[in-house]
Amino acid sequence: MHHMHGGHDSERKPFNARMFMRLMRYLSPYRWWLVGSLSALVIAAAAAQAGPYLFGMAIDRFINPAESAQVLTMQERLSGLGFYAILFIASLVITWLAEYGETYCMSWAAQNGIFDLRQGLFRHLQRLGLKWYDSRPAGVIMSRVTNDVQTLDELLSAGLTTVLGDLVRLGVIVAVMLTMNARLALASFITVPPLMLMAFYFRPRILQAHREVRTRVAEINANLQESISGVRVTKSFAREEENFAAFDLRNRGNFDATVAAEFLMSIFQPGVMFIGALGTAVVLWFGGSMILRESIFGMQVGTLGPGTLAAFLVYVQRFNHPLQNLSNFYTQMQSAMAASEKIFAVMDTEPEVQDAPGAITLPAIRGAVEFREVDFAYDGEHLVLEQANLSVASGQTVALVGHTGAGKSTMINLLCRFYDPVAGQVLVDGHDLREVTTYSLRAQLGIVLQDTFLFSGSVRENIAYGRPEATEAEIVEAAENVNAHAFIERLPEGYDTPVGERGGNLSVGERQLISFARALLRDPGILILDEATSSVDAYTEILIQRALDVLLHDRTAFIIAHRLSTIRNADLIVVVKDGRIVQRGTHDELIASGGHYAELYGAQFDAESGPRG
């Protein structure tokens, strides 16, 4: 029953130097922090390798000195040992402080760089037009600013330093081992190829398996979400058993995927540990032979102190971590490349509606609106509005009627300049909308949408949304004029009552009245109203109608009308059909002349023996 679109895990793209440099530019204001971090990183990586070396040296020189060496008294041996121990402590403290500095400086640079990037992205999103938004689900846009930025954050604040640190660490370990005893070092390196093989074979597969698990979990969660939301339907159709079967299938899929991933982990982890044991065995055998001056395969392998052997036992285990990290880094870089590509693609998109060079500020709107031979297509190809001509005098109320998809909303979108026409002109007070600044136009429009959207914040903030500087008296007056004051006063905290997400704690009617107040407070030159279709009870309906009268009084208004009373009271009814204006006139004229309007609304009147409220 339930269809899933698998969890969209981050994609991967090959390394792209130009993109990487563009990303790095966000760090350049913080380059001194980077320099600090890198210096600390080198110190930390080097200091961390001092321990085993000091341990080994202390053994060979003082704890178990070679018989050939200069004979020391016990006191000399003990104080020599103490000296090495203090050096050891010093190296640990240095490591700690250097790691602290390294991480902190890097995070400072990365976090600030990412901050700037996200800020730039958000600002750009505010400029992009509705067309861009229309063609993408909100979730996808969200994930640009959240997940994709997060991926880059991980690369910059952790990935890069980890990999640099690991390279330095590996280098230092190899160098120290070679200096201590080149032959034993070369023998120990035998564990490196299998470790690399394990890392580069298993790691990508494990990551893939975990991605699969996440996808399956996402499927389960999506199924649960839908099952819970739809539980009333399920129960009323007595469909529980079928749903159990569907859920069980997903549950089992998740089980299988998890067990498969665990299988890989269960091989990989002990495998790596086994290579560790192998390293120990090699060092013991080879190193032991050197100490005993035994020959291996008939070759003399040289001489060695047991302390060096002890140090090697530690070093040989230290290859593992850096190699694991390096194998992860590759994937991380690929994900980051995919994320940057997507982010930069957004940032490189030019807004489709832009102020023309030399656009003027639209003077105070008087309210004359004209559509002059307007063509429009959302996709640039299929016209949804064709040769629209309309002239509206200041102060008129225009009702747009017609089927869903006929082109009513398009006309309003063009008037707000959410889009530009493909051909023709839209004019307000004789100004082509393309010749005025978008801000000066919209700042003078009042728009009430069908689906009332309220912001989280107080009732007051919502009413004052279009005019944040409005005084308390103005806000209350606006609310009173649209019949909203009385119910607002009755809310637990009056005008300070927080409005939940999308206004969830208010009724539909209340939300509409607040959006009326919001529009009225702005005192717009032109009012645009997409009438709500959702029915409210008869009493609230009356309040809304009264509020409408106030709102429409003495200003040009464009209404996508659903209430017959609104349509009847309009100065001009514009009937839109299949992207064309087919009829215009008053209600009586249009009923009298027959045609599309009479078909649509005449039937309605007959059926109800009178207009509906």
Binding site: N64, V93, Q111, L309, R442, S535, Y601
Partner: protein, 599 residues
């Protein structure tokens, strides 16, 4: 603790696996001991005592131990993963079934998000505990206690001296947990806040653009973004202080082994081999110890999660089937309410106060009244979504509580106030109540609901996926799909709750036509705000505050003084003709209603 035991009870069917896992764990601990021990033997015996013949066999012994260790590790890890995953599989299915057994009243009280967080996040925490936490908890304890005694036996002085690193280590781990974890949570909260701002920004796009308030939005975003940045940096600073500190304290143990252990070797109280082995054992001791903090935390969280999940599982449905219920393949459609009282919360306000009426087979009953008058409640009692507190609801002359619940619901088709479609092809949505229906039946239902033509116009026709993750349908389209879905059941009793509320004029017209057609021959209950949709009913019941205040047909009611005539007056007049008195009454009435609806 009781919760944890109950959770462990789920392990019972997998006892064999559990034993295997623990045996492997013990073997693993033994093998962990072996490698340092062999190392020590090589150094002391083969190298220092120069018994060179032992060198190769002992080195091979290390490899052998490595192989055994690896094998044990595999068995332990894989088996415990299987156990944990099986248990969670069982638990998820149990939860899923239970969620479907819970009554409507439970869903009235609970938010979807809260239920979701229990069945997803809480279950995930429990899974982590069962798959990793439990087995590592046992291993950590066995391992650290075992090694501790072993080391005390080898050299108790050195062991005690090394142990002085443990208190500062534990303190640091605790400080890390108490300071850094809450800071992390805070960062997560700030990030969630940032996501919320963003989400609102996208959802409110048109409002923002039309009010030209982009700058205000940027300000909101910057403010929240800066808070996130500040908390993030603060947390990283604390973290990058503590984390290397823990490493340093751990490494201090090695310094002590070198310094004190070295002097023991110099004094001849210990051999060099043990000195080297001691260092390896120390890592085996401190590793589990460092993990213990995380494990204890995981156990606590799993316990809290289990409490919430079990609480959900222990919630019992109050709509229960009697034993030996009456089976009813097809009802005649006679519905009777006899003095029904009902309140959503026991002891709360009564929503229905003595409702009585009788709908004969094939009749249409319209329910009318303001929001909160009890209309929806009345129809919710018919398919037994709730049981009345007093009085009886009868179908075909028998109390609904005596029927099998499945039978009642198969006989009652409902089109709910809020239409919910599943993310599935339209055909599947229409066949929701009868998955075995043929395509012809589905199409016939869609035709009757006046939605067939629309569906055929979609690019993928009946295969078009709708719902949350599919193509968005308008309110009217969704409603017609829901009507088709109810019709396919061919129910003798049909309930249409406010089914024409959120559609435009043309669609309403379509739906009216669809309904007139499908109500024929069924007992139908219609709830509507608009009088136009109830005029043809055989009975009209006008409800006010849980009582039937008027009943009759349109013709009779329109002649009576009362609510019905008042609403009729309100709805047929246009705004300008409404008298001041009606307007004033509307203001007070709307206030009462709005208050009831929203709060």
């Amino acid at each position: 603790m009781k919760t944890i035991w109950r959770l462990l009870g789920y392990l019972r069917p997998y006892l064999g696996w559990l034993i295997l896992s623990n045996v492997a764990m013990l073997g693993l601990v033994v093998m962990s001991f072996a490698i340092p021990w062999l190392t020590r033997y090589v150094i002391d015996v083969a190298i220092i005592a120069e018994q060179s013949a032992l060198l190769l066999p002992l080195s091979l012994g290390v490899i052998g131990a490595g192989i055994l260790h690896g094998g044990m590790f595999f068995v332990r890890r894989y088996s415990s993963a299987i156990i944990g995953q099986r248990v969670i599989y069982d638990l998820r299915n149990e939860l899923y079934r239970h969620l479907h057994a819970l009554p409507f009243s439970f869903y009235d009280r609970s938010k979807t998000g809260e239920i979701m967080s229990r069945v997803t996040q809480d279950v995930e925490t429990m899974r982590r505990f069962l798959a990793f936490g439990l087995v590592n908890l046992v291993r950590s304890v066995v391992m650290s206690v075992g090694i501790l005694f072993f080391l005390l036996f080898i050299n108790w002085r050195l062991t005690l001296v090394v142990l002085i690193t443990v208190p500062p280590l534990v303190m640091t781990i605790r400080a890390f947990a108490t300071q850094v974890r809450p800071m992390y949570r805070r960062v997560q909260e700030e990030l969630a806040g940032l996501t919320a701002v963003l989400q609102e920004n996208i959802a409110g796009l048109r409002v923002i653009r039309s009010f030209a308030q982009e700058e205000l939005e940027v300000e909101k975003f910057v403010e929240q973004h800066q808070r996130y940045l500040a908390h993030n940096l603060r947390t990283i600073r604390r973290w990058s202080f503590f984390f290397p500190l823990m490493n340093m304290i751990t490494a201090m143990g090695t310094v002590i082994i070198l310094w004190y252990g070295g002097s023991e070797v110099i004094r001849g109280n210990m051999t060099l081999g043990w000195l080297v082995a001691f260092n390896q054992y120390l890592a085996l001791l401190l590793g589990p110890l460092r993990m213990l903090g995380w494990l204890v935390n995981l156990t606590e969280r799993a316990s809290a999660s289990a409490t919430r999940v079990f609480e959900l599982l222990d919630t019992r449905s109050d709509i229960l089937e009697i034993s030996n219920p009456i089976r009813m393949p097809t009802a005649r459609g006679d519905v009777q309410f006899s003095n029904v009282h009902f309140a959503y919360d026991s002891g709360g306000d009564s929503v229905l106060r003595g409702i009585s009426f009788h709908a004969r087979p094939g009749e249409t009953v319209a329910l009318l009244g303001a929001t909160g008058s009890g209309k929806s409640t009345v129809v919710n009692l018919i398919p037994r979504f709730y049981d009345p507190n007093r009085g009886r609801v009868l179908i075909d002359g028998r109390d609904v509580r005596r029927f099998a619940i499945e039978d009642i619901r198969r006989n009652v088709g409902i089109v709910m106030q809020e239409t919910f479609l599943f993310s599935a092809p339209i055909a599947e949505n229409i066949a929701y109540g009868r998955p075995e229906a043929t395509m012809e039946e589905v199409e016939a239902a869609a035709r009757a609901a006046q939605i067939h033509d629309f569906i055929m116009g979609l690019p993928q026709g009946y295969d078009t996926v709708v719902g949350e993750r599919g193509v968005g349908l308008s309110g009217g389209q969704k409603q017609r799909v829901a009507i088709a879905r109810a019709l396919l059941l061919n129910p003798p009793i049909l309930i249409l709750d406010d089914s024409t509320s959120s559609v435009d004029v043309e669609t309403e017209h379509l739906i009216q036509r669809a309904l007139a057609h499908v109500m024929r021959g069924r007992t139908s209950f219609v709830i509507a705000q608009r009088l136009s949709s109830v005029r043809e009913a055989d009975q009209i019941l006008v409800l006010d505050q849980g009582r039937i205040v008027q009943r009759g047909t349109h013709r009779s009611l329109i002649r009576q003084e009362g609510i019905y005539r008042e609403i009729h007056l309100l709805q047929s007049g246009d705004a300008s003709s409404i008298s001041e008195e009606v307007y004033r009454r509307a203001r007070t009435k709307a206030l009462e209603v709005g208050g009831k609806e929203a709060r």
